[in-house]
């Protein structure tokens, strides 16, 4: 059973050197005397997630809603495994597909095929699995002979087709996405949306962050409202 359960997740980002570099702090300290300076460690902490607890079960479609800096992306990165929370527990079961930055690991000097192999390898696929997926991925991109050209020669629209095709090629239990992905010109975009939708539909859990409430309402069954790192409300639709 795919599930995510979090208890009291806390994430702090240390900002090293910020205090000592700030002229204002230095001046303030000199004005208030030595007492403050003693306990002013050279470390500022930003609490990005503050005591988040939630249960996500199979079939859940979670929409993360909140202002800039409310902790949506941080939460997604924690779920993707990039950041480990500094305290609290996080239990996850199921394969995870992170669509947070799908062009990660792409290389401008390498050609389309090489990039596909690289990205598939980073996703943990072996050579045999990659060989099996390759025809389907290359066909979907509609890039044809361009795939044997270095990626830097692609237009930005063509460029995005490659990671998109790879990211949506493998089904996963849990899909994490920061804003809805859209690529390509009108005709391609339609095809891409259908492919993305199919992948999301087959996922057991979706966690999608967006500022677009309508989008979340049409794709999700539960909305998590985040404010300053707190989970202030869970709205069931």
């Amino acid at each position: 059973m795919a599930h995510i359960s979090a208890k009291n997740l806390i994430v702090d980002f240390p900002i090293y050197g910020a205090a000592s570099r700030s002229l204002k702090n230095t001046v303030l300290h000199s004005a208030t005397g030595g007492s403050l300076a003693k306990d002013s460690a050279d470390k500022v902490v930003v609490r990005a997630l503050n005591g988040l607890s939630f249960e996500i079960g199979e079939g859940d479609r979670i929409g993360l809603l909140g202002h800039n800096g409310s902790g949506k992306s941080t939460l997604l990165r924690v779920l993707a495994g990039g950041y480990e929370p500094i305290s609290g527990t996080l239990d996850m079961e199921g394969s995870v597909a992170s669509m947070l930055s799908i062009s990660l690991g792409m290389e401008g000097e390498a050609n389309g095929y090489e990039n596909i192999v690289m990205m598939c390898t980073l996703m943990g696929l072996g050579p045999k699995e990659i060989d099996k997926l390759m025809p389907e991925i290359t066909e979907f991109t509609e890039l044809g002979e361009f795939l044997s050209m270095p990626l830097r020669t692609y237009s930005s629209g063509m460029h995005m087709r490659v990671p998109f095709a790879v990211a949506t090629a493998v089904k996963a239990d849990i899909v994490l996405m920061d804003e809805w992905l859209s690529v390509g010109d009108e005709a391609f975009s339609k095809k891409a949306q259908a492919r993305l939708q199919e992948m999301l539909d087959s996922a057991k859990i979706l966690v999608l962050a967006s500022h677009d409430r309508k989008l979340l309402e049409s794709n999700c069954n539960r909305l998590f409202h985040l404010e300053h790192g707190h989970l202030v409300e869970i709205e069931n639709l």
Binding site: D12, F13, P14, Y16, R77, A80, G81, G82, Y83, E84, P85, I86, T89, L90, D91, M92, E93, V96, S98, L100, S101, L104, G105, E107, E109, A110, V117, M118, T121, L122, G124, G126, P127
Partner: protein
Amino acid sequence: MTTQVISPLSKALNDIASGFGGHKIWTMLGWQDIKQRYRRSALGPWWLTISTGVMVAGMGPLYGRLFGQPTAGYVAFVAASLIAWQLINAIINDSCQVFIAAEGHIKQTRLPLSIYVYRVIWRNMIIFIHNLAILLIVYILMPFEVSVSTLLAVAGLLLLLINSVWIGLMLGMLCARFRDIPQIIASLLQIAFFLTPIFWKPEMLGRHQWIAQINPLFHLVEIIRNPLLGKSASLLSWGVVSGVAVIGSIATLSLFSRFRARIAYWL
């Protein structure tokens, strides 16, 4: 996947082991680094070999003269020394950037952190293998001794690689947290190149050979250079390098289990 029940130490060990298991990823990343660096150059990684070769061709005869050494033997010595030193030097230098350079991957994915250490080691092994061509050319021009002891080069390399894992993790961590350390390491290595018997021999120090013997980098160079030249290294050298591997690994393991989860936040 349970996050808190597992101890930090077993998580650290698991990272190191599963990172090694992800060899498909680190070999790919290592090759990619090399390809990227030399993508549009005709000679590719052979450029490094050529520059090392030029150094051997230039320094060999000159310093042989300066130190009053027979040219043929001395050129082979310098070639083996430089190849060994460049491997060690590059691994230590690159170790400073293992995590800094992989920032994007580390923040977005759950790949084990040790993968980026293996990547750096792999990349430098590829360059090392290219550099062996210099020794082959020297051998053809002025043959030196090749014996059973030459096989010890494999053992020497293996010991160096074991050391590289802890050096990579340790320096990677320290440099991610304190951004001045890469500069310090780079300048220390520059001095070490002259203080370590690389193009001179410890015997030349006469009574003061201890200056070479107390330097662990000397022993590290010895266990690779000597076998390449058909000789074994002294027991002291093997012992020092093994000892450093054990002590370094223990120190790194305690640091890595404590701070592994923090590394992403330092980047």
